[in-house]
Structures are given as C-alpha cells and as structure tokens.
Amino acid sequence: MTPGLQAYLTVAGVLFAIGFAGVLLRRNVLIIYMCLELMLTASTLALVAFSRFNGTMDGAIFVFFIITVAAAEVAVGLAIIVALYRRRRTIQVDELNYLKN
C-alpha cells in the first residue's frame, strides 16, 4: 500500500515541530541553524507532497529552486557562524548578547 497525502504531511509536520523545538531549546548556533534547515526541509516536503497529489509539477519545480537557494543560504550562514566563532570564540547564543544595552 502506498502512503497517502496525510502520511507525508504528518512527517512534514513532525519534522517542522522538531526543528522548531530545536530552535527554541538548543543553545548552540550551529544546532539552531541545522534546526532551521530542518524546518525548511519540512516545508519543502509538504510542497512536494501537495504537488504529487495535485497531479501538477509546479510545486516540484518550485522545490528545485528552494533547494538551490537553501544551498546558497547554507554557504552564507555557515560562513557567518565561522566568522562569529573566530571573533567571539564562542557560538553559544547565551553569550552572544552584545546587542543588549
């Protein structure tokens, strides 16, 4: 038996919730970033599922673009994190509070 739309959406929802919880709870910037990516992936999965079950390819093509952009974004994001670490010697968000005051 092939899984239905509901199954795909459930997986996407669970992935999104895990990602969101990670963003909320973890202290490491790298982990938070990975969780953000997880949330992005969850939405992509939902998009592909909708596309498949609608019988149109629009969503699938859209996802290609999202993945491309996400790849570029990861490159920039990781570079920022590396630069941040070099500058501050930490990537714990609790200690990155220079904007306060």
């Binding site: 963003v23 909320l24 938070i32 968000v93 609790d94 990155l96 509070n97 904007l99 306060k100 005051n101």
Partner: protein
Amino acid sequence: MNLPVIFTIILLLPLISAAVITLFLRRSGKLAECASVGSGFLIMGLSLYVLLTWNGQTFHQSWEWLRFGNFSYSMGYLFDNQASLMLLVVSFVAGWIQLFSVGYMDEDEAQGRFFGGLSIFMFSMLGIVLADNLVMLFVFWELVGFSSYMLIAHYYKTDFANMASRKAFIVNRIGDFGFVVGIVWCYHHYGTLDLQTLANIITAHPDLLGTGAAVGIGLLIMCGFVGKSAQFPIQVWLTDAMAGPTPVSALIHAATMVAAGIYLMARVFFLLPPFTQEWIMWSGAGMTAFAGLCALGQTDIKKSLAYSTLSHLGYMATALGLGYPGLALFHMAMHACFKATLFLGAGSVIHACHHEQDIYKMGGLLRRMPITAITFAIASLSICAMPFFAGYYSKDSIISAAYLMGANHGAVFYGVYVLVFVGAVCTSLYMGRLFFVVFLGQPRSEHAEHAHESSAFMTIPLIILGFLSLTAGWVVYGWTWDNGHMIWLLPASCVQVFIGDFNLIAKQVESSSLGHPLEILDIVLGVAAIIATYFFYGRARTGDPLAAKAPGVYHLLERHGWFDDFYDWYVAKVQQPVCEMFGSFDKLFIEFGCVWGTGLATGLTGSLLKRAYVGSLHAYVYWFFAGVILFWAYAVGWL
C-alpha cells in the same frame, strides 16, 4: 521705435542704473551720481519724446508671465491720458531732483547707496505709472514702499531715521494689507484684474457698483491709497519720513510716491461706488484743514512742509471724492512743481545752515541766498493759490468744486467746502510763517549768519521748478504751438485728462451766483493771512510766538492731535496683550502640545520597546512566534 520698446527702456533704465551702482559703484560716489542722474535725464528725454509723438490713442499691451490653473498673470503697459500726465510729472521732477541731489549730497559718505536707492525708486515708480493690471501695480507699489523705507533710513546711524523708516514701512503694510485683500476680492468678484477689462465691465453693467461687494472692494482698494498717500487714519508716517535726506522728501514724500495713491484712485475711479467716494471726500477734506493747522505747530522746516503735503493730498482726495479725478491729477501735477520747489528750497537752506532744520535758528536768509529765497517765495505764493500762480488753477477749482457740490447736492456738502476753505487759509498762514521766519528778520544762529547761496547743481533745479510753480497752470488758457503738440509748457496729450473737469468747474462757477465772490473772498483771506503772519511771526526773535501766547493750542498742533500718542498707547496697551494671548496659545498648544508632545510620546514608546530587547535569541524567537500567532488569529478572523 514703437511704444512697448520705449516703455521697456524707460522702465529698465533705472533698474540697470541701480544694479550697476549696487554691484560696482558703491564706493565711487561720483560715478554713481553720473549713472543715476544720467539715467534720470535719459528717462526724461524719452518720456518727452513719447508724449510728443504719442497719437493720443490708449495703448494697451500685455504679456502672460505666470499661469496657475485658470489664473493667468500678465504684465503689460496701459498708457492713457492719466498715465501720460503721471509719466511727465514723475520723469520731469525726478530728473531735476536727482540733479539737485548731486549738490545736496556732496559731503555724504554713502552717495552710492543714496543714488542706487533713487534709481530703484524710479524703477518702481515708473512701474506703477505704466502698469496695466492691479497685480503688477501692487508689485511696484510694494517696491516703492521698499525704496521709500531704504531712503528714509539713509542716515541709519541715527535712531530717529531708523525708527522713522520702520514706521513708514509698517504703517504702509497696514494699508497695503487692505489693498491686497481688495485685489483678491476684485478678482473673485469681477473675474479679472486688468484695468481696461474692468473698466469695460463696469461701463457695460453700471448696476454692478450697487452691490455690497463693490463697496467692500472699493473701500479695500482705497486702503492702499490711504496708506501710500498718508490719509486719515494712518497719516502718521509721512511726517516722520522727513528723517530722510531732503531730496528724498521732495521726490518721494511730496511730489511722486505719495501722489501715487491719488494716481491709483484715478486709475480705478470707475470701481469706486458713491459710498467710497464720499468717504474719500470727507477724510480728504478733514485732512486738508487738520494738517494745515498742524503745520503751524512745527518748528522743523521739513515737518511743516510735510504737513502741508498731507493737507494738499487732502485736496486731491477731496477732488476725487467730489467725482473729479481729472482735477485731482491736475492738482497732483501742480503740487509736484511747487512742493518739489519748496522742499528743494528747504534742502538748499538746510544745506547752507549745516543741517540745521529748526526755523527759529534761521532767519535773514533772503540777502544771503537770493535764488533760494525767491524760488521759495514763488512756490509759496503758488501753494497759497494766489492768482496766476500754478496752484491757483488747480486748488481754486477744487475749492469751487466743493462749493458747487454744496450748492447743487445738498447743504451737507458745504461742510466739505468749509474744511477745504479752512485748509486754504491755513496754507497762507503756515507758508507765510515759514517764509518770514526763515528768510526775513535777523539770523538767529551762527550757521544762518554764515550761510551762502548753494551751488549751481541746486539752484538750477530750483529755478526750473520755481518757474514752473509760477507758470505751469497757464496751460488752461490753451495756448498751443508746435502744430498743437504742445499746449503752453505741457505736451498736449497730458492736458486732456484734466482740462475737461477744469472747464466744467469754471463754467459752473460762471453760472452760479456766489462762485466768483467766494473765490475773491478766498484770495483776499489768503492775502490777509500772509500779511497777518508777517506781523505775528515775522518779528519773532526766539521761539514760536503761538507757543508763547497759547501753549495749549500749540501743543495740540505740535503733537498733531495726539495721533501718535494714541497709537503708541494702542500698540503698548491693547495690541501687545492680545499678541501675548495668541503667543501663549502658540506656546501651550503648538510648542508644548504639538512639538514637545510628539517628542515625548516617541521617547516614551522607545523606552518601553527597549524593554523587549533582552539580548537573548530565544526570546526573539518567542516574540516572533507570538507575532505569527497574532497574524494567524487576525487572518482567520479571531481578532
């Protein structure tokens, strides 16, 4: 050359002269003199050329300058009989007075500034003469106000000149405010500001003048005249304006600028409903008698002449109010001749006495300054309307016109006649007083003792204008020459504007039973008044005999009816508190409420929002999440 080109040259010449003087010749007084006087005489020549070649047809041409929606603002020239007379007076008198200034200002340090000011005044005044619509006229109207202000303040190192210039400017603003409101209302009501179109509208629909709006417009435009010609109730600036150099008093505050108010009224005469005319008539007649009396209470020679100017502007206003704008312009022209002579004579005396203006420090100048004394005497007789002098023809016609008004249109107008008659007797009194005190008797000071006749720069204009004070009025006899282009000493085109009114009055005087006897009575009383002043003032050693005999009356005349004191009280005790009341509204509502209030509210909001800025990434995520929920709730309609 065609007319618009010549008019443009006439108008721009003094502007160019002023610009050159201001930019290059401020330090070189002699060159500035040349530029100003040269342009003055060029204007005189060009004006005479225009007046002699003009075919008598009203010339009107305008060019669009600005357009706002439906309102198009044009500039142009309207040259008719009124403008031709005014152009002659302005260009002719101004040329000679500028020449006189060369002599008068010879020891001044700021000749460049002075002659630049005279040039800019000429530009503004010629603009008023030639303007074809009310907006253009108003622009130049303000420019003469500015140049008057600038020239009064020539001796800016004295407090008095500074205050006088500001007073002149501010008091004129009051009149001009009414004027500008009148112009706007005129446009709203009649749909145009072009003088010729307005005249056509009124001619086609005379009933338009019966409305309340027409009365309002007439009264408001009259405000401009009241301010500039120093009529009741804002006449107070003119006597203080004498703080300026004497040629300025002669040119601006006697011969031309103050007469511009009369010219304006003649120009828009068709716009004035009967009520406005009556107002002008009564205020003018009142001013004639009142200022004539006040002139007796001044020891400053120029102030006394300034009151005389007020009085004679009153005559012109009376003529306007009686319905004879032509007579008003006739008197304006004659007045320009003899009052310019009187002021220049006074200037010559003041210059010779090292800027002493108190007549009781002069005396015995007849032998020392014969040319000045004789021209002054001629102009005095002219202003007193002695027969065959220029003033006789214009002033006596106005007095007769007032009498005829009373005879034909109800006894109440005899009041006007009495007032102008009193004014005429006063003229003889104060002119006799001035002449006998200044030129006869013994010198009362060192300076008067050593005075001597002024240079040719000053005597030549005196002789020419003095000659005109004697003869200019003979134009009414209609002796023509140069194939009818000239009538006596005036170009024929300038005579048209007043000769009709003059002949009409002369004919009515012939047919009325009391006309001639009253004229003779006027002359006899005038002569008697002059003789009386000889015995009353002529032998005074020090101080004014009237001040010694009747100090109360003299004080009233000296303070000219406490007008200034009343205005001082009004400004300090009434206007100031009202201003402070409005000022406190500004402080409370605008400054504290609006300006400070906005700042405070923004600052408070900022310091509140700063609390949300905790520096923890997770907190921001919660904020973000809360925001998303809020949006979602709004989107599904829960909020």
